[in-house]
């Protein structure tokens, strides 16, 4: 197991380097740097002043040199200052991150509550009316763009019924309901299918038939054996979807004015605040890689078959 952890940790180093490199290169594609932005609205500035400032900030150095100094900044939490607010971008990112994490967490909880029971029911009632209805609903949920769902919810719950605020009033549970539900619907639709498939696969195994032949009640087989074995797959799939959820909150956050990193990213794009976009991209990717790593390790730890294999090998 230790060997495996070490191997996985070594594997993510090139990926992390690649992520930082791509995020850094992105800025160069933009064709504008801190100095051009600085003097953008200051009228005519002589080329000497611009060049002097560039030299001062190290922007005249070769691309790779700049990359490594930026990489050093990434490791020490200094990714430059925002063109707009002039503040440290990493600090700004960190200050908005909890709101996004909260939204993600709530959506995951809502997804679990909605999709796991429904997925199990659909699997147990395989190819009957209940299954068809649930699959149909999941299909609809899969085909609805989340910004459309968000606007529908806004219109219905905030504007027609006045139950909930249309623009979030700070980070509160009440303002979180609509964005959470929006994110949870799309995710549940996808996830319910996966739960159903996982449970169906377990139900089709020989031991289920054996247990049934021995006269064990269906409910007991389901709870004691089937769900217990399917749980591992279900949880792994869930953990993997957390990452994509984290990366998919941008539109929803900006519709509901939820003050998280997604909205920050969209706002920064509108204002061409490149260091801020860079910090968002590189950190979201780093978080995603870490989540995947932890999931993978947990999976290995929880699955006795793989654990035993690893134990034998080392």
């Amino acid at each position: 197991m230790k060997k495996y952890i070490l191997k996985r940790l070594l594997q993510i180093i090139p990926v992390l380097l690649g992520i930082t490199f791509l995020s850094f290169a992105l800025m160069h594609v933009a064709g504008s740097d801190a100095v051009t932005e600085m003097y953008a609205n200051k009228g005519a500035v002589s080329q000497e002043i611009i060049d002097a400032k560039r030299a001062e900030l190290g922007l005249d150095k070769p691309f790779l040199v700049q990359y490594f100094s930026w990489l050093g900044g990434f490791l020490t939490g200094n990714l430059g200052t925002s063109y707009v607010s002039g503040k440290n971008v990493f600090d700004t990112f960190l200050s908005k991150l909890p709101a996004t994490l909260l939204l993600t967490l709530l959506s995951v909880v809502a997804t679990i509550i909605i999709s796991i029971p429904l997925g199990i029911i659909a699997a147990v009632r395989h190819d009957r009316v209940t299954d068809y209805i649930l699959r149909f609903l999941s299909f609809i949920g899969n085909s609805l763009p989340n910004f459309f769902v968000a606007l529908l919810f806004l219109q219905l719950f905030a504007i027609r019924l006045h139950w909930l605020p249309s623009i979030s009033e700070g980070v509160s549970l009440k303002s979180a309901i609509l964005p959470t539900m929006t994110l949870a619907i799309a995710m549940s639709a996808k996830y319910m299918r996966q739960v159903r498939a996982a449970v169906l696969e377990e139900l089709g195994r020989n031991y289920v038939e054996g247990a049934r032949a021995r006269g064990i009640r269906g409910r007991i087989i389901l709870w004691k054996s089937v769900l217990r074995s399917a749980l591992l797959t279900i949880l792994t799939l869930l953990a993997l979807s957390i990452g994509s959820l984290l990366g998919g909150t941008a539109i929803i956050e900006s519709i509901f004015m939820w003050d998280g990193v997604g909205k920050l990213a969209v706002d920064s794009i509108t204002m061409r605040d490149y260091p801020m976009i860079q910090a968002y991209v590189v950190w979201m990717a780093a978080i995603y890689v870490l989540i995947n790593l932890v999931t993978d390790l947990l999976y290995h730890y929880l699955d006795p078959r793989i654990r035993l294999e690893a134990g034998k090998a080392s």
């Binding site: 690649g18 594609v29 606007l151 941008a250 991209v281």
Partner: protein, 317 residues
């Protein structure tokens, strides 16, 4: 044993190509089946026929949608760009089935005109990702060695960005526009196709028929285009078909954020974003394009799902 072998030939990818050989085999099999008909085989047969019917139905819907898109210029009841402030923000009526927007433009016409930007861009995007990804994947699988390692590590890096994060950043830095949005999403999507094509190529490479073709003197180019490609294209095309719906949504999402098509171009995502502030007074301006996105995504998803069931019935559980 016998039964499984039968199933394979009957429902395998070969049945898609429908050449005369397979048909002959199938005829013989059907005759055999009537001799020893087990209930399980019969149920599978019925199911397969159902899938075929659905495939035809949804295929027809996709074709209809594409016709609508191609001829959208002729199908609009009004000029989609003609402004008439006297009838601005009119609720849906007999004359304007989806109402009018804030400049008095007919919403139905704009939604129909928008299909070009929304659906065609998504098709182009899927085509670009599929072709680029497949080419890279076949190259990696075929060449192996250092090129394979390097390109696959690069694809790992692209896959390490969650969801829309990277596409958002690329489109943001490039400064919006529908071409940039397509480029951004294609940059994010090619690795999945590359991995699929690579793994399929590796499988085909070791087959005996490849050895035979090589021994009979086929060139590398011919081996790839005549032998590898036809054998791996099935699963890749199914993936592309399943991707179209998602891509329509993601492109519309980028446009919604102002990173895709820009007004006054009629495009569903940007139309919705443009009308957001009027959701209380004129909800039809927001919801008409939304329903258009929903319906087109649904049609493509239905077709993609059914196509997958048809090609690979085992995955249908």
């Amino acid at each position: 044993m016998r039964k499984t072998a039968e199933k394979k030939t009957e429902y395998g990818p070969d049945s898609l190509s429908g050449n005369s050989d397979t048909r002959e085999v199938r005829k013989i099999q059907i005759q055999e089946e009537s001799v020893q008909k087990t209930p399980a085989v019969r149920i599978q047969k019925v199911r397969h026929n159902n899938v075929k019917k659905r495939l035809i139905l949804f295929g027809a819907l996709v074709v209809l949608l594409l016709i609508l898109t191609v001829f959208s210029g002729y199908l609009t009841p009004y000029d989609p760009d003609a402004q008439n402030l006297a009838i601005a923000k009119m609720a849906p009526s007999a004359a304007h089935l989806m109402g009018t927007d804030r400049y008095g433009r007919d919403m139905l016409s704009r939604v129909i005109a928008g299909s070009r930007a929304s659906i065609f861009s998504a098709l182009l995007l899927v085509a670009v990702s599929t072709i680029a990804g497949t080419a890279i994947g076949i190259f990696c699988g075929w060449a192996g060695g250092i090129w394979d390692t390097v390109l696959m590590r690069i694809s790992d890096i692209f896959l390490a960005f969650p969801g829309l994060v990277f596409a958002l950043a690329i489109a943001g830095v490039l400064g919006g526009g529908i071409q940039n949005a397509i480029f951004a999403l294609a940059a994010v999507n090619w690795p999945r196709y590359a991995r699929l094509a690579r793994s399929q190529t590796l499988v085909q490479k070791t087959k005996t028929y490849m050895e035979a073709a090589r021994l009979s003197g086929s060139s590398t180019w011919k081996l790839i285009t005549k032998h590898i490609l036809p054998n791996i294209i099935g699963p890749i095309l199914v993936t592309s078909m399943l991707d179209i719906g998602t891509m329509i949504m993601e492109l519309a999402g980028l446009s919604f954020l102002g990173l895709g098509a820009k007004p006054p171009t009629a495009e569903w995502g940007s139309m919705m974003s443009d009308a957001r502030s009027m959701i209380t007074t004129a909800p039809w301006i927001v919801f008409s394009p939304g329903i258009a996105i929903f319906l087109s995504v649904m049609i493509f998803n239905l077709f993609g799902d059914t196509l997958r069931d048809w090609v690979d019935p085992k995955r249908r559980i």
